[in-house]
Amino acid sequence: MKLIEAIIKPFKLDEVKDALNEIGIEGITVSEVKGFGRQKGHTELYRGAEYVVDFIPKIKMEIAVSDELVSKVVETIQNIAKTGRIGDGKIFIIPLEEAVRIRTGEKGSDAI
């Protein structure tokens, strides 16, 4: 199993989620993060002072999948989340040793 972590642009969340559902992914965990990268932030004005907001709001998705699904999931995310402009984000693939469903105690691929 792998844990796929994808950093994407917030407004793509709904589309990506729907696409993953379509290819059979049933569970996703999402959090709001701030990204620093090549994409530059904006400036803000307050009482004559200008602040550069150097982080960009991003969405982090975590998806545990069995090995055979990895490439399909990565591909899907890539296709949908891509706008072609800087700041589209990253996908990281992390080895996952075990997964447990708390409700039933199921383990491994059954759990996800």
């Binding site: 004005l45 307050y46 009482r47 004559g48 002072a49 200008e50 602040y51 550069v52």
Partner: protein, 496 residues
Amino acid sequence: MKLKLYLASIMLVVMAGLAPIAAMAEEKKDAAPTVSAAEATPAAATAAATPAPEAAAPAEAAPATPPDVKPVLNTGDTAWMLVSSALVLLMIPGLALFYGGMVRQKNVLSTMMHSFVAMGIVGVQWVVIGYSLSFAPDLNGMGLIGNFSKVMLNGLIVMKDAASGTVEWTLFQNYTKEPGAIPELVFAMYQAMFAMITVALISGAMAERVKFSAYCVFVLLWTTLVYDPLAHWVWMTEGWLFKKGALDFAGGTVVHLSSGISALVFLAFLGKRHGYPTERMAPHNLPLTLLGVGLLWFGWFGFNAGSAIVGVNTSDAAGGLAGLAFTTTMIAPAAAGLSWMIAEWIHSGKPSALGFGSGVVAGLVVITPAAGFVQPGAALIMGVAAGLVCYGGILIKAKLKYDDSLDAFGVHGIGGTFGAIMTGVFATVGATGLLAGNAKQLMTQLIAVVAAGAYAVVVTLIITFVLDKTIGLRVEKEDEIMGLDQTQHSESGYNM
């Protein structure tokens, strides 16, 4: 540092200003006729319902003298003053929001508490001693401070005219010959709210680092030693600046200039916030700040239009003069909001909501001393100028590198001074300014500004110095980083 140099030069200007004050103090006998003359001219479209001869009475009548006419309650005036008092009180939560929204999240409660606790401390102080120091008969005839005859609001509830068999409340005494009046208690409450908010304005400079205990003591001392005397000087018929004919309709010098300049003095001892100016210190909740602007504007109608009660040329609190003050209090902030916004649009590329809101407050500050003395056209000009001048005022901060967190000096100090001076330029209603050919009024305004500013600077210096050496003004650096809400008040603004 630069700031201390700046203060030193202010002191110098102030000293220089004291010379003409001393000089003109001699001619105070002449002042009264000047004023009454102004009133008599048809050009001065005054609001007095009484014939001109009687209009000069206030300056003459000693407060101990029994009234010539039996005062009659005017319920309309009283209603308006009750409302105005409540409106000014509401400005304080308004200020708490205005300031509270502008700080970082970790300091929101402490910043709001600066305003709220001022309501508590000054509310009690005013009743116990403040009203008497400000509005009781003069202590020693020099027009500097009131005596102790009205301590605990003593004597504001008495039978006034026992002879005639009717039981009556004491009415407002400044104009004993007027046939219509309001209960003095109402006047005392109206003035109480002014005292509360003035010291709260200063807190804007201290936000995010001042020690709460030191702040509380400061509130008490500053109100007693700075505010109360200034109110006596300018608004009490026996005050020396009142007698000299200085114009301050609703508190340009007494409220805004004095608080703004005191904020600057305090800063010299307090120092900058940790991380200023490199760290991003963006306002944490601007909708609260905008709501604060809304409540301030709303309340300011009480502040300015309610002040018709202390105007020399009116017998009615809720009459034409109040209408005029209301009008200018609508015009100036509207114009100033726009001019600040447009200045920013041109200067920085975008019109910010905080900019518009700050402009509105600047306009309110600037029109305050002039509210009942100028025509709508002048209010428009003053409003436009207010936005530009105060926008400049906050840019200076970036230059001089002092850390006036929420621009108490930049807006109130600069705006209050500017407004007080402009009143001497534009006054045409019930008084005449430079443009109406009366250069003397402008000189009088300058004297008032310099005198009030100098007094506030000197006394605040002393208070702050003492507090710094005893309680200490500032929290520990670690506490500052953790936030004042947690370290001073053991709570947090939001748990979302």
